[in-house]
């Protein structure tokens, strides 16, 4: 070792963190370098002083205060709480990255929000709910009559069946037969309609005699 020892080497040496070869080289250097020797002793004194500092006693009021605050305010942490903590940590370590992250999150949020709106708009086109044939168990109907089934607004149309507003009547893509008991009212099948709608399937509701059938 020709140049002076680094502060890191001296510090690590005092903590016995140098590997044997590094420690031996440093010791050889210290024997011939009074400056580094003085620095080492000065550092040793700093460490000794630090380690001689006594800890403060814990305030006698602390435990009671903690118990009181737990009783008063402890709640399960929310998503926002964790987000705030993470952002604070990131902000301290890398403010530019944190700002970049916030911008990306905002853009992503706006994109997902608009996508969600589009999905909702498209949903009514892709999940037609059609009542075919005049339902015997429902009151007489006329063109323009409205009924709400499974949160969907259906209108009796000129072709003689119930059609969800804004839906293409030809867009029937799947058939599934569920017979209900004879004489049941049409609205009894709401849950089945909703289940099929949730699967994004077309639903045709037929009334044949006393049987309400979903297709």
């Amino acid at each position: 070792m020709t140049s002076h020892a680094s502060a890191e080497a001296l510090s690590a040496y005092l903590d016995r963190q140098l590997v044997a070869r590094e420690a031996r080289e440093l010791e050889e250097h210290l024997e011939t370098c009074p400056q580094c020797h003085v620095r080492l002793e000065s550092l040793r004194k700093v460490i000794d002083n630090l380690r001689s500092i006594h800890e403060l006693p814990t305030p006698s009021t602390l435990q009671q205060a903690v118990v009181r605050r737990i009783a008063l305010t402890d709640e399960p942490p929310g998503l926002l709480d964790r987000f705030e903590q993470g952002l604070s940590l990131l902000n301290r370590q890398n403010p530019i990255l944190a700002m970049f992250g916030v911008v990306i999150a905002l853009v992503l949020f706006i994109y997902l929000f608009s996508l969600n709106v589009q999905l909702h708009e498209n949903q009514s086109d892709t999940i037609p709910v059609i009542f075919q044939d005049p339902p015997n168990s429902v009151a007489d109907v006329a063109v323009g009559n409205r009924v709400i089934v499974a949160d969907r607004l259906l209108i009796w149309n000129e072709q003689g069946y119930w059609l969800e507003q804004g839906v293409d009547a030809d867009a029937v893509t799947r058939r599934l037969q569920i017979d209900s008991e004879a004489g049941r009212e049409l609205f009894a099948v709401q849950s089945e309609i909703a289940a099929l709608a949730a699967l994004k399937r077309a639903v045709v509701i037929k009334i044949e005699g006393d049987v309400v059938r979903l297709e």
């Binding site: 000065s42 500092i53 006594h54 737990i70 402890d74 940590l89």
Partner: protein, 198 residues
């Protein structure tokens, strides 16, 4: 209650990790689990908060909030680290979060006169030694506040809390090489401040 006790004893008997057992007992509602965590770590949490904030009153507020946080999250402790390093990490993260907004205070010596030295040394020593110790202890405590928080954290964990380099690396979530560098820079800065003021 009986069901809780059964669940607790079952969970305890299944684990060979006492730290994890403590977290499991807390999860099942055993209040003694948190009491045990408090009695183990209260002094450490308070002193670390004090070293990072520089003010006893603020350290007490911080310690309250830290234990509130520990109470909330202890059930989710997964045993990947020791409970000790986990508590240290919670403590430092909270201090950074709260004090970071003020960029962790580094206070000028001239502003300091809180009589801290009187509480930091062993009162049973010889009066002359005691006076010198008071002064040395106070000087080093105040000088420590002149060190940048990132280096102060490492020095406090090493020289005041007595953690190993590996433990500090775990607490700070950095490599051991980084710990070595931060400790050295912190101590070097401290030496420079003390020499300047002597």
């Amino acid at each position: 209650m009986a069901a809780i006790m059964v669940a607790t004893s079952t969970a305890t008997s299944l684990s060979s990790n006492p730290d994890l057992d403590l977290a499991t007992r807390h999860r099942y509602g055993d209040p003694k689990a948190f009491d045990e965590v408090y009695s183990r770590y209260a002094q450490m949490v308070f002193n670390l908060a004090y070293r990072m904030s520089g003010k006893p009153d603020e350290a007490e507020d911080l310690a309250q909030e830290i234990f509130l946080r520990i109470h909330r999250h202890l059930a989710r402790f997964n045993g990947r680290s020791t409970l000790k390093t986990w508590v240290y990490r919670v403590t430092l993260n909270h201090c950074r979060s709260k004090l970071g907004r003020r960029r962790y205070p580094t206070q000028p010596l001239a502003d300091e006169n809180d009589g801290e030295g009187a509480r930091l040394v062993d009162e049973s020593r010889d009066p002359e030694d005691l006076a010198l110790a008071h002064d040395a202890s106070r000087q080093i405590s105040l000088a420590l506040r002149q060190v940048k928080p990132v280096f102060r954290e490492a020095v406090v964990l090493r020289d005041l809390q007595g953690l190993s380099y590996d433990e500090i690396a775990e607490v700070l979530e950095v490599r051991v090489g980084t710990v070595r560098s931060r400790i050295a820079r912190g101590r070097d800065r401290l030496r420079a401040v003390l020499e300047k003021n002597s």
